[in-house]
Symmetry: C2
């Protein structure tokens, strides 16, 4: 169904449409991190970070791995680099115009 595809795409963009979640993705670009590391790095309550991670995971952007008490999250997307390079181009061209 075509409309479903647009819905699915919209969901991905929605997951990315929040500064905290974008910052998480940026941090995960350095490699797999556990929730506590992300909480420590960003300045938000742990429940908020947890919810953000779950939203990113539901969108298919990150994956998790449990190890003892810790849950490690990492990027699931190979092309995230291109993705964000494009975004930077948009932002640059926006500043010029």
């Amino acid at each position: 169904m075509k409309s479903n595809l647009y819905e699915k795409k919209a969901q991905i963009f929605k997951a990315l449409s929040n500064p905290v979640r974008l910052e998480i993705i940026d941090f995960l670009a350095n490699g797999e991190k556990c929730v506590c590391e992300i909480v420590e790095k960003l300045n938000y309550e742990q429940p908020h970070i947890s919810k953000s991670l779950i939203k990113l995971k539901e969108a298919g952007l990150i994956k998790d791995r449990k190890d003892g008490l810790n849950v490690y999250y990492s990027l699931k997307i190979c092309c995230m680099g291109d993705f964000f390079n494009c975004l930077n181009k948009i932002l640059e061209s926006d500043l010029k115009s």
Copy 2:
């Protein structure tokens, strides 16, 4: 400011986080269209389309050009193709897993 950059990026993603707006972008990929063409193509009220277009424009994703009574909108981003190819990869890998 770093936080501002995340905010700005989030705004772009927010503009893309809606099926109607994604469908508009898809349609504009075929080239410049006036509002009336977009209204005709998609099945939404004209005011809603107008508001969607303005949101996309504010995010810096499309631009407009006035000609008589008509306003023509077109994609402002060169790398939209890569952008959406990446998205499709995400969706495919999501279906597999």
